[in-house]
Subunit: 341 residues, 2 copies
Amino acid sequence: MPELRKDPIIGRWVIISTERAKRPKDFKTRIKEPPERDCPFCEGKEDCTPPEIFAIRDNNSEKNKPGWKVRVVPSIAPLLRIEGDLDPRGRGLYDILNGVGAHEVIIETPQHIYNIADLEPEQIFLILTAYKERLVDLENDPRLRYVLIYKNYGYLAGAGKIKHARSNLIASPIIPKRVKEELVGARRYFEYHDRCIFCDMIRQESEQKKRLVYENEGFFCFCPFASRFPFEVWVLPKNHSCDFQKCNEEELKLCAQAIKEVFLRLKISLNDPPYNFVLHTAPYRRKRPGYWRTILHDYHWHIEITPRLTRVAGFEWGTGFYICPTPPEEAAKVLREIENA
Amino acid sequence: MPELRKDPIIGRWVIISTERAKRPKDFKTRIKEPPERDCPFCEGKEDCTPPEIFAIRDNNSEKNKPGWKVRVVPSIAPLLRIEGDLDPRGRGLYDILNGVGAHEVIIETPQHIYNIADLEPEQIFLILTAYKERLVDLENDPRLRYVLIYKNYGYLAGAGKIKHARSNLIASPIIPKRVKEELVGARRYFEYHDRCIFCDMIRQESEQKKRLVYENEGFFCFCPFASRFPFEVWVLPKNHSCDFQKCNEEELKLCAQAIKEVFLRLKISLNDPPYNFVLHTAPYRRKRPGYWRTILHDYHWHIEITPRLTRVAGFEWGTGFYICPTPPEEAAKVLREIENA
């Protein structure tokens, strides 16, 4: 019997197919991709991008020259622009803001490597450090409410033609709907239980271990109970914290190790699938609620990784009702049991 | 300057790119599709499907034999199953229901035609009549809360290999999240304004006509202000009504005409693009709110049509924050100006 499962945070129901569940080999992830273009993100090609905003560099290297480890540049086709006022306005029924914000590209390695699974944990740690630095810096702009950091890997996941590992950063004056729903769902739970729903989830998942993929001292990686997509994985810090940018060096190192493990396991078990990676962290300047504890405790930053193994059926877009052809327990078992990942 | 626009019904913000807006020819909708299989949906192949649940037939034709115009059969790979109890239960934090419901396929023509754009309005009227009959019939099952009717056209829109026009019907014990958000948003607007937000939208759009695609006496077709997708079109009945199944014959005829016009215009202007089609109608047995008027007036059934012209970027899934590369005003102009559609 298929199951309907409810996401306890935002309240979305998902259909989980339990019969004829899809196994890794049932997914085709190869489709003809466009030919690759010359790579402007490699070391030595610094003049092919706009001037850098931030970089982690060798001590004696020069800005916009070789010698960097991670490099952040503005997008050449920005979705939002840093100049101008928001100018909120209405048109009859409708609300508009100017598309003010930032759109940056985080170049994750000086080498021409595409999959984060192929980077060393030390390099992933530097990428996470760059995320943190940008989050801290952008908070100074009072127009910005939310910073979205995400990766599209592979053509089917929406990536461009250039196969060089990078993340996108979009700093926006509004809080995206899904994030807001998470915040509302987590706050509702906290107000009732006086506990963080994500912490409770880690506790429950740690007892059962049925959906566990990987864990280390700092991070818990699992396939969520109401997975929208087959082989969806969430990476949660075991220490409760709303804001990614408050991570210390030790936490970022453990996070890098967890990310490496998850992506390597996905790569091995699903034949290098396309995927999306989204960092979920609390908005800037959250509104102060009635009592102080809520500010500190009702959200929990995390990473959501969704391999793109199925075409998206239209009604999922139209209705927010997802069908997941692989139960997360089976997906987690496959990913957990990969040896020497 | 790109614009951030807020969907007035569910409150989702969308980025509308106004510079370098994508024109119809900028979208590639051809990608290698798998070869077609033998068609089990053509007239004469009735024994290739499970026995029919409903059909519109010539007077003297026999059930499960040729002589039908529209035919409804159970899905051979049902996502939800009609047998059994819901058995709602919890597992710690999590909520589960058995996947009880119905999954039917509405075969839209006895001929091997794929695109609804190529059917005559008279045939589309019969399809809508079949929708109505199924909605009315399924309401008798007290376990069901919502009936989702949708079409996936083309491989990129999630359709299967068989190129024979059909819709899917999923009758489910829960109300999908997006539908619930629409209901909540529309109710909130109604409680404040004492008017239906969809009726107000038709009124405002009729004055400006900037986003109008097509209208007849009964239906208003336009590109919504906060379009998530390029060339997204909504088809709204001008007569306020919550429930599709309450349409009379005359209304269904006008609706069929509007659908024909919209799909023909999309086919011509975008070179036969893949698309999704979702009927949004009120749930069964809506909870009675505090005052009677709300029951009658706070929702407005409609159809949402979304061509699939862009790959979906990962962060749109993860965040509910959409980027629409074509302003709806430009999309509507292209669709409106197609002559003799």
